[in-house]
């Protein structure tokens, strides 16, 4: 007679073989991953190409033929300073990607260790750490960005730091719950019974097992960062001129929306494609790694 048991306590960390949350069971999300990868690769490719080549110098102004429509010279037209939109669009992909990468790096560098530590310390201390995390989370990223921009001046770096700080508490929360789940599994107990310390546990067991959630968080963080960069640039708190960036282009273009709508639509489209790409990728990976959608709080 074998009896499977389940009590409310271990419902949250199912131990039956039916829904092992950390095991890749059904490989879902295929089409989304594919579509997401294609879009993201396209954006990466743009950034890569722009490092070596753009049709024209993206910062060269030709005020005489400003706001020109598409032509052989300016494939996608020119903006209010007569810069080539196609070139700016290519070069402008670097900032959002950089901001995405930076944000995720900062957010993870802070959030992952914090989340793991909060999960591994005993319950009391962990609870206080999470309360601290709550306070941090009460500072929305945009608020941080506005304040940091005032303190250090608006720049890509301040945007990255602010957005990264904004991302970190959410990451910490997800990492903590993931870690708790890993730690509640018997293999974590087994590792302790094998005489292994906390660091080993964190590196060998926890990190590999929350990899899925982390990847999902990263792609989502990327998408959020790209949107936030655009919003910050729109407020004049993001990337300062003359560096090309999609957000900046949107900001420059909005004053001529009625006159030359293309100056806005191109960067708008670029942002949408990049965000869509990362979101699709994230959703697909989530379906694959973690069918339960983690509520980010």
């Amino acid at each position: 007679m074998s009896t499977r048991k389940s009590s409310p306590e271990n419902r949250s960390a199912p131990q039956t073989e039916e829904v092992p949350p950390l095991r890749r069971r059904r490989r879902g999300g295929g089409p989304m991953i594919l579509a997401g990868s294609v879009l993201v690769s396209a954006v990466l490719l743009m950034a890569l190409v722009s490092l070596f080549w753009t049709p024209q110098d993206p910062t060269a102004t030709h005020a005489v033929d400003r706001l020109a429509g598409p032509s052989a010279d300016h494939w996608l037209g020119s903006d209010g300073l007569g810069r080539d939109i196609a070139s700016m669009l290519l070069a402008g992909s670097r900032v959002p990607l950089l901001v995405g990468l930076g944000t995720v790096t900062v957010g993870f560098a802070l959030g992952v260790p914090f989340g793991i530590i909060a999960a591994m310390t005993d319950r009391g201390a962990g609870m206080w750490l999470m309360r601290g995390n709550d306070i941090l989370q009460a500072f929305p990223a945009l608020l941080l960005a506005i304040i940091l921009a005032a303190v250090f001046g608006p720049s890509t770096l301040t945007a990255i730091i602010a957005l990264g700080l904004g991302l970190a508490p959410g990451v910490a929360r997800v990492v903590r719950s993931g870690t708790l789940q890993v730690l509640s599994r018997e293999f974590a107990l087994a590792a302790r019974a094998a005489g292994r310390g906390a660091l080993y546990l964190a590196v060998r067991h926890v990190l590999p097992n929350i990899r899925g959630i982390l990847i999902v968080q990263a792609t989502v963080g990327f998408a959020i960062a790209i949107l936030a960069e655009a919003a910050l640039s729109f407020l004049g708190l993001g990337t300062p001129p003359p560096t090309a960036s999609w957000g900046r282009m949107l900001q420059d273009g909005q004053s001529v929306l009625h006159v030359a709508p293309l100056t806005v639509l191109w960067p708008g489209l670029a942002v949408a494609v990049a965000v869509l790409g990362f979101n699709l990728l994230g959703d697909g990976l989530r379906d694959r790694f973690d069918p339960r959608m983690e509520v980010a709080r």
Partner: protein
């Protein structure tokens, strides 16, 4: 509209269930007469649930059923596979109902129990006015105490057994013609299970319903059913009246299943009979079955906890491998503002385990078995009392001071999947306890152990998900043995395994315990398993040991009332069939 007993209520012809190209259930035929109680038996994954779900028309998305499933007895027969959703909805809960395996999750957590029950009534008897009365009646018919109060609580406020009763009441609300019960009691403790089964049989009898009872537990089926159907790999391998199948099984699988399920031993080798043919011979079989080492079974005292008396030291020996004194563990803190919730998981446990002894601990869920083991292995600290291993206190020590313990004592967990990190290669898993060994040393040990637990050497590079449950448990055992420990602790090491695999793993454990001369602490809620594997058994209840003594003795002539209850609750198919 009475239907004769011979007349079928349900006839299943050529039922197959496919998921894409996979055929999960293959062309099965059977029928159920009115009032008949049929058991559907088979190991995990054999297609039992899918069969039931096909009948009630609730297969999940992606699954597709073919064949004919006909429900007779109405104005005209209905083919349940092709019936419209609307028609099925009128049948479900009215003429066919189903009780599911998981009482914990099968009820809507946000709805009061009474409302969920009333809903069943309302759907099919929209004009009835005194539904509340009927609902209370139903609750009391499944022996829920204080039905009026119970109707106003939420499912999480009920125990598993109570929830399962509510499920049963819900299913019986409209006195269905056919009740499908999909492993309705596997999630329950033996004692609760027994009550639930009795209740079900009684209800079905009273309403004159037919029953299709799914389980992988032969003992259970023998208490409930008249006829059994045995499935394997999506096919029916044997079916017939209970007596016939159990006394004279025709199909070899049935025979093996029965043997394994009863933990039958092979007369020659004293090894457990397994499903896959004769018990595997070890390369160098142990010549003479060594009686369990240690102080000899006869020296063990059979003691019980007396009512109100202070807890004695059970199984007291000199120079024990493991000495446990007045161990308590209370979970939860008093809370910031006073009244926090605390759980007294252990309430003063004292016992010894002699070197070389096989010490079993039984008790039902939540009685503190795992808590005790965590303290024995110093993975957690007691609230009071202490544990000594080979004379050294291990409780409340820093991890650094316990290095030696990590080598002398190892643990094997309940869930073979959960105790292996899915992201690690088997080699890394097995060598995890070897903190200092060199690479070559490690791979040498891995090879050695894989051989000992009967896995191919090529397993070393694989990951856990590439193994079956039994194989995984072998890996876990290999890991526990890699440091050549003196004491092995097994926490429900076989409860998650299928009956057939269980026997294999128990055999392996037996062999290794002898080979390594291990002191074994074996925890289980399954008395049969403990009887087979241990010389001494301690029975736990609510954080206390209530009885302890030589296992045969304790199980044959239990003294403590709780033990008696426990022993009598074990469904034994032999008793029934004889």
């Amino acid at each position: 509209m009475s239907v004769g007993r011979a007349e079928p209520l349900l006839s299943v012809e050529g039922l197959s269930v496919r998921a894409g190209a996979d055929r999960l259930v293959r062309n099965i035929d059977f029928s159920i007469s009115r009032g008949e109680r049929v058991g559907l038996i088979g190991e995990s994954g054999s297609g039992k649930s899918l069969t039931c779900l096909s009948v009630i028309g609730l297969l999940g998305p992606g699954l597709h059923a073919d064949g004919r499933v006909t429900l007779h007895g109405g104005p005209q027969p209905v083919d349940l596979l092709t019936a419209q959703e609307k028609q099925m909805a009128t049948l479900r809960g009215d003429r066919i109902s189903m009780v599911f395996q998981e009482p914990m999750t099968a009820l809507n957590p946000l709805m009061k129990v009474g409302d969920q029950l009333t809903e069943s009534l309302r759907i099919h008897q929209p004009r009835t006015t005194d539904r509340r009365l009927r609902m209370l009646e139903l609750l009391s018919s499944v022996r829920i105490p204080e039905p009026a109060r119970a109707a106003t609580v939420y499912p999480h406020q009920m125990s598993g057994g109570q929830r399962q009763r509510v499920m049963l009441a819900m299913a019986m609300a409209n006195e269905p013609d056919l009740l499908l019960a999909d492993e309705p009691t596997t999630a329950l403790d033996v004692t609760v299970q027994k009550q639930a089964l009795n209740l079900m049989t009684e209800q079905v009898r009273r309403a004159g319903s037919s029953l299709l009872f799914v389980t992988h537990d032969l003992g259970v089926v023998s208490e409930v059913c008249d006829r059994v159907i045995i499935m394997r790999h999506g096919q029916i391998v044997e079916s017939g009246p209970l007596d016939r199948v159990f006394t004279a099984p025709e199909h070899p699988y049935t025979r093996a299943l029965m043997a394994a399920s009863a933990l039958e031993t092979h007369p020659a080798t004293r090894r457990l009979v397994t499903v896959d043919g004769p018990p595997p011979e070890r390369p160098d079989p142990v010549e003479t079955p060594v009686p369990p080492a240690g102080a000899g079974a006869g020296a063990v005292q059979h003691e019980t906890l007396t009512e109100g008396g202070s807890s004695p030291v059970f199984n007291e020996v000199e120079d024990p491998a493991l000495r446990v004194r007045d161990l308590t563990r209370t979970y939860g803190s008093p809370g910031l503002l006073g009244r926090g919730r605390t759980v007294r998981a252990l309430r003063g446990v004292s016992f010894d385990v002699a070197a070389g002894q096989r010490f079993g601990i039984v008790g039902e869920s939540g009685c503190g078995k795992s808590t005790l083991l965590r303290l024995l292995t110093a993975l957690d600290d007691p609230s009071s009392g202490q544990v000594e291993v080979s004379g050294q206190v291990i409780s409340r020590r820093r991890e650094k001071q316990l290095r030696w313990l990590r080598e002398t004592m190892q643990i094997v967990f309940q869930d073979p999947m959960g105790s292996l990190d899915p992201r690690m290669a088997v080699e890394d898993i097995i060598t995890e306890p070897l903190r200092t060994a060199s690479r070559t040393e490690r791979s040498r040990r891995v090879d050695e152990l894989l051989q000992q637990v009967g896995l191919p050497l090529s397993s070393a590079a694989k990951h856990p998900h590439e193994f079956s449950g039994g194989q995984r448990q072998r890996i876990a055992i290999a890991r526990a043995l890699v440091t050549k420990p003196e004491i092995l602790i097994a926490d429900e090491a076989v409860s998650a395994l299928d009956v057939s695999v269980r026997a294999q793993v128990l055999n392996l454990l037996d062999d290794l315990v002898e080979e390594y001369r291990l002191t074994l602490v074996f925890v289980s809620h399954d008395l049969n398993v403990v009887r087979h594997s241990c010389d001494v058994v301690a029975v736990m209840k609510a954080g206390n040991i209530v009885e302890c003594g030589p296992s045969a003795d304790v199980l044959e002539s239990p003294q403590h009332p709780y033990t008696k209850e426990l022993v009598s609750a074990i469904p034994r198919l032999r008793d029934k069939v004889r």
